[in-house]
Symmetry: C2
Subunit: 439 residues, 2 copies
Amino acid sequence: MNALLTDLYQLTMAAGYWQAGKLEETATFELFVRRLPPNRNFILAAGLQQAVEYLLNLRFGEEEIGYLKQLPQFQRVGEGFFDTLRAFRFTGDVFAVREGTPLFPGEPILTLRAPIMEAQIPETCLLSTVGFQTLVATKAARIVEAAGGRSVVEFGTRRAHSPEAGVLAARAAFIGGCAGTSNTLSGMRYGIPVFGTAAHSWVQSFPNEIEAFRQLQNLLGPKTTYLIDTYDTLEGAKRAAFLGEPFWGVRLDSGNLVELSRAVRAILDEAGFPDAKIMATGDLNEYKILELVAAGAPIDSFGVGTELATSSDAPSHGAVYKLVELGNGEQRRYTAKFSHEKATLPGAKQIFRFADSDVLARANETFAPGCEALLRPVIVRGEAVGREPSCAESREYARASVERLPKKLRSLFECEQPYRIDRSASLIKLSEEVSRRER
Amino acid sequence: MNALLTDLYQLTMAAGYWQAGKLEETATFELFVRRLPPNRNFILAAGLQQAVEYLLNLRFGEEEIGYLKQLPQFQRVGEGFFDTLRAFRFTGDVFAVREGTPLFPGEPILTLRAPIMEAQIPETCLLSTVGFQTLVATKAARIVEAAGGRSVVEFGTRRAHSPEAGVLAARAAFIGGCAGTSNTLSGMRYGIPVFGTAAHSWVQSFPNEIEAFRQLQNLLGPKTTYLIDTYDTLEGAKRAAFLGEPFWGVRLDSGNLVELSRAVRAILDEAGFPDAKIMATGDLNEYKILELVAAGAPIDSFGVGTELATSSDAPSHGAVYKLVELGNGEQRRYTAKFSHEKATLPGAKQIFRFADSDVLARANETFAPGCEALLRPVIVRGEAVGREPSCAESREYARASVERLPKKLRSLFECEQPYRIDRSASLIKLSEEVSRRER
């Protein structure tokens, strides 16, 4: 990622920190969400791998420096600042939860501790990278929950906010529980299963539907999925069966999916294809899928696009990146905000997860066995530590972690009783001290 | 953009077209939106430049081909297909409206005519690229309209759907009328004015606010904008004035912006800084800005982030890419869908814009003077034609075009009477012919 892919004020602040002689001052920032999006009872963390890669590769080239030098905001800063940018490397520490971890408001997804300039510049990209994938992984978990064991495939790149967002949405959706994606690049880059056969334009490009189906069968054999709603869904189902060759299944993309899936099921069964699958697509979301499942529609697989790749009912969540500590040793200062709606807690933290509650504690605390410390070091002194799990491993971790949550939290609607998060005595004490000092 | 950044089915269809001997068959697709998003009376086209660059640079490398070859979907296709991918170049024609053109449902933003494989593969990226930027440019036009002449700056990268989406959102927001962006890379890449000074963490990193302000003044001089709400907004305003040095203005990021802006204005005026500006930020959108303006809040400039970069009240619009013609000369076949909610019109089209209405016509029609043909050639036989306008030129074109629309269409709420779009006699005739043939 280009180093200028950040808000300009991160760079003017960097120049100011340089000018004020603060290059050695350490700052600790935490990235977390303030509130859950509507109808969500948890978020599912994702995007951490891209965040780590970004930090490890952050460099300023001559073109970038040349651009900054001619901006009015950088006319007063000494030339030494640009040399500092030329030599820029991220040398700090990062603690993060594993991708696929369910989290709650105020719990750090990522904690970054570095010289203040190195900690400030990445804010924008970290928020966008982690925020977006977390949004989509969370949405995917809801859709997969609604599908009740039927497979869900992500189909949303065409409606994603830029093609690259589509690649990352596919990744996050897979971690959130989807079986795979239509995004071919995401398949190559992240090893995610890819799906897809043909669109309406395929059918339209042949003189008739049966010829279009025959040609697809030639290409895909038993993996063929016939899209059967171009002209008439039931006729399409009959034509698919008429060809007589083994095929994977059919796809319905319009109409009353409950009625059509039943009628299509009957046609396929009667024609001797009881194992042929039925996939449904077309503006689906978790609520529509819940209804289809509740109605007993014989659908084996759902393809979800727009609503998944844009998390359209909650296209943002207020992920923030807040300064919690400044300086080292004796000089250390803890910071927080105490304003009514935007209150934050001071100091670097750890999340201890127990069977059915979390304890938010100070980073240096230890707890008895029986709980898991969720924030683990992923970068130490600018070097990656540990092996990054594959997307498939993160997906499995997410599945197991969500399954361990109290069942009611997996509802698609807001729980009356949110997840219990306690604060350690030490964190409460620190917060009170900082509050007294600031007031 | 990587050639695999597309839905897998585009590539399986490509393999199928190859296998069916359809490489020479020409197809014409149109990209348009079916419906306006809620509360919008037009969309503002954007992203065409990125679409053209994508098409001109679309190539398959060996890594991509190697990945495809091992997928189950490509086990039956002849080796010649992969040679065809190796030699892939886009050789077709593209017609598009100028970026910044206001458009209405059913009107093509882009028409692409090429051998069917070359026309099929780009669908996913074209929809995402043009769809997203159009969404943001449209949202920006609304926010700028609400601001009634006050400047609006785009601040949304941190909440954009991936960092790259933030770069493109900044570009689209500028075309839609914003004065600039905080996204530094967008500034360098597209020549857009960039803005930004300092965040709360800057203020918090110094022992007190006055010291933080003094250091910022050292760096930025008369361009300084003091963020004054870290501790107490009115005290912050007094401290900004107390320093006595010329500054650009102050930024309010929380609280009751009507009351605070008035009180801050009085403090600045009284302290001898009547020219210092007041900028407001913090979860703003077009409706909140409309209220602030209506209340007479003395705010000179608005910074808008999340809601602009994600178009959060309408994070998608159903942009589609539909086959309208197949084949050449005598063999030409026109295609359309006649289903109730998804009906389309056959044949390549032109949009003729008159003073207060459009006529949708066939592509080969000509109209009398007094109207403008909106779709212009941008790629002919695989080569770019004409000079791409700069973002500043597209922004000016958008401004002038929106100003020419009937005033009521610029409302932030849905107009009772939508824009008038007629169909030419020739287009109606073609549509009736195709409909008779298909029924």
